[in-house]
Symmetry: C3
Subunit: 394 residues, 3 copies
């Protein structure tokens, strides 16, 4: 289908205008699909050398409270594509700031900013809370005419959700299987997997079960006992499944879960209760406590080294060839670590697929920005298509 | 008054073309007003979604020899608004470089640069000297055809002045009181205030007394004995006052000073003689000496904890409601520190006003750039208005 | 000659399209001249306020595995001139990554990137190898449709070559002597010089002898016994000289070499065998071994303090006034160090010339980008000239 037709068929109704993008489960299904379709259209425009540069100038602030390469590049690419310049806001990395500091800083960095992208995924109970504080500060700043415009907030990963990742993943599934309708009835397994590292955030598995449960799939969350996710998000996934005639199930055997799976997402994360303890210890700056916790957590992890996604487990999946997904970088046994989340041979089979999966993220972020800024995204896209500005070449 | 009329009424004579902006007292009163009016016009253009992008490309170099969030964002915003890209020049932060290194580096970073913004406020006797060295190196580079254009130098805070701050503050006063004429006869108190920190630069109080003394106000500088500013700048303020039929006074009681004040600016700074000792110790890399100096300075400071601007002191001001100003972040008692420059209730009353005050800085910097680059800024602004390029939207 | 004529006379045949720029000796002589002429044209356009902005958006990634100021600014300037935004890729500085990590990261940073500039000059046998790995990963990514375009790779200095430096130097010679034809028969001496520092890379002398041997010059490489360069590159220089009716010679007395030289390039570097040992020790993270090596290397260096280019040696050159070249910063005796590569009086004579020499680098990089992206660079330049977009001003 050509671009013009796709733009004409876009949902003309959007509730995304001037609304921060923090959690997928606070957005309607049609809005999520709108973002993904805009992303896909922007990707096609790029291929056709059409520039969607809707900003003549403007800043996109980034606040990374944790290291990041791919999300940083995705955000930079999205901003650049639309004509914005990224300005990093450097904070002492592990700082948990609240109150007046947040309120003031949010305004100080926003006078000429159109977006603020935040990554704050280290401390359970903190990341989303921080984003809400920033959001409120921006509301106040705009209402009281401190700010000439209300910058949009984009969650680049918090303790609860990782919407730019999960939506890139969902768009990958749509492209891979042909349509969202094709996903109906498919089985997707979000599985814990072994990793020799500690303290990996819960936001990816949480984001995946909360989003994939909206397409009528059979979603199975699988992990060793004790590696629970935030209960509230489990409820979100259950409700979503009910509302879309899908199913949601929690299980504790990787082998059993893999049976007949169409899609598998094996990835490590830290147990919920460990992350809770960790946040408390961090608040108290208890270094000894943190070191002890790390040791006991690694020892606990080591009991589950057999939670590796390998050729044997892959054979159990639908026709032995379920689509493997990962947010990258994966812990690949014998490559990036001795024993890890996935065997080298299985990863190599799907390596390029995971690269393609990652490639949707810049467009998802750009689409979020686009839908925030334009009340009628379809009209704005139509204008872009009409002008056909070259991205490269005069 | 609409934009067109404001542009037509701009002073057509400017001496700012191709002149660095280092110290407000080296500029004429009409040039300072021109910069502030251009800033105000650029701000209004932003509100009307008109892009003043006069550079198709070009770099704005930033050299921050001290940490900074708001000045960094202001500079980035100003550059971006006009079409320039910021390129940071990272130096070892505390390095005091002179001579060949400065001369060479100034040229190496300037081949395709339009501006260099420098913040170097840590060492008394150093910051301004460094900027003058850079300025001379740029002159030579341009004359000898090393550089295709002479990049403009903008002082983002030195040991003597902080012109982007003081001019944002002055523009805030103009907008708050209606006009520069309204400032005539008003009383402004630049007062020292207690802070539990050490070594705060003198450039803000110096910049404030040097600039505010140019509008016919009654300027009072108030501080405990020994917290002197650079004598040469006291003279500047005295002369300015004389020339504009205002007054300038130095006093040593916060309570007395606050009486009938229209505007108050309570802010901590380190005593002049301490800063001088500090520079000497830094040059010798005398760590023990510096640690000892810090202790004695903090002990000295602690004698003046009652220099807090609170509701009681505020009551003494004109009708009990003088405009409170601060360059932010303020040391707020019970919020950002135990005992500080201002009580929490008074700060909260003026919190949004201080945000608005800060919001002028990006436009002041952009106006400095604009006036440096265009011999006839009014004509250039007229062209921008004529073209009415959208900042957002195609 | 005016711009239009120069563009018309450009070689219409280019083999640079979609080809990484890693080593000058893998490029044809006519392609090298094409890059330099494009650089010179872009420089003239800048002087005439014509913007060659051929990208409406796009990223230019930079990976600096070693500190850099001038190359960083040159790359940023080149990208900016053409409309691209630099995005830094921060790695732990001394990390030698290979394999899966390189392959994956190369793709992750390239989804919307047009160029990747890499500086990796610290370890003999590593830098170029790393760039080739990145290059292959980009090839795969593009072929397998992970990447919508194949980003071009630009060598910003590796262990073997420093093409953006050597080509800026060659362009400087062309402009200084009038034409490449004028270089024929001239004597250029690439000489080792004393420096109190250790571990300086070999890529500049290697790049210089490999490139300058292509213009029919008499190239003499001069250094104390043991300060050899990579043998393979010596062969390159020998072959080049043979093919262009020039000569190539290695000698070991600075005084003798300087006799009748037209151009001299006195610069320090570490001996080849030391750099090899260093790489081995670094791979083993042998800190004590590295410290010992540094000591013995500095002691070895100290034997050759008389290898300083001074007025006496300058007198030996053709008419006592050979053109002095340096990639900067130079170790200037009595200025940047006690005893160094060049005496203060001689350096001062040529100081501005070395600045001018450095000023070609941004244009060389931009020309490399230009020739990578446009199959017919002459046509693209013609279009730019036709449009005459102002760089500054509406």
């Amino acid at each position: 289908m050509n671009l013009q037709k796709r733009i004409e068929e876009l949902n003309p109704i959007s509730s995304l205008y001037n609304q921060d993008f923090l959690l997928t489960w606070k957005k309607s299904g049609s809005d999520l699909r709108l973002v993904m379709e805009i992303a896909s259209i922007l990707k096609e425009m790029r291929h056709q050398n059409i520039s969607p540069r809707v900003f003549d100038s403007g800043l996109a602030v980034s606040i990374f409270r944790d290291n990041s390469t791919r999300t940083r590049f995705s955000y930079a690419s999205a901003a650049n594509m639309l004509g914005l310049t990224v300005q990093d806001m450097d904070e002492t990395k592990s700082q948990i700031a609240h109150g007046e500091t947040v309120r003031e800083t949010a305004n100080m960095i926003s006078f000429l900013s159109d977006f603020i992208g935040i990554r704050d995924d280290m401390y359970l109970g903190e990341g989303h809370k921080y984003m809400e504080e920033v959001s409120k500060a921006l509301d106040e700043g705009f209402e009281k005419e401190v700010l000439p415009q209300r910058p949009g907030l984009i969650n680049l990963q918090c303790d609860m959700d990782h919407p730019t990742q999960s939506m890139a993943d969902a768009l990958h599934l749509r492209e891979h299987f042909g349509s969202f309708e094709e996903l109906r009835g498919k089985k997707i397994v979000m599985s814990w997997a072994y990793s020799p590292s500690y303290g990996k955030p819960l936001s990816v598995p949480q984001g995946i079960i909360a989003l994939m449960s909206r397409f009528g799939m059979h979603v199975e969350l699988c992990h060793p006992e004790g590696y629970n996710l935030i209960p509230e998000i489990i409820d979100v996934a259950k409700n979503n499944s009910r509302n879309t005639d899908g199913t949601f199930k929690i299980s504790h055997s990787m082998e059993d879960a893999m049976k007949d799976a169409d899609i598998v997402y094996p990835k490590s994360w830290a147990p919920f209760h460990i992350m809770e303890q960790r946040t408390e210890l961090l608040k108290k700056s208890d270094k000894q406590g943190l070191a002890d916790l790390e040791q006991s957590c690694l020892a606990e992890n080591a009991k589950f080294k057999n939670w590796e996604y390998d050729a044997k487990k892959m054979k159990l999946t639908k026709n032995g060839k379920a689509l493997y997904m990962h947010c990258l970088p994966a812990d690949i046994s014998g490559v990036s670590c001795k024993e890890g989340e996935v065997s080298a041979d299985v990863f190599e089979k799907f390596r390029l697929q995971t690269y393609i999966e990652a490639g949707y993220k810049p467009y998802i972020i750009a689409a979020m920005m686009f839908a925030y800024k334009f009340e009628h995204p379809a009209l704005a896209l139509k204008e872009i298509l009409g002008l056909k500005m070259n991205r490269v070449g005069m």
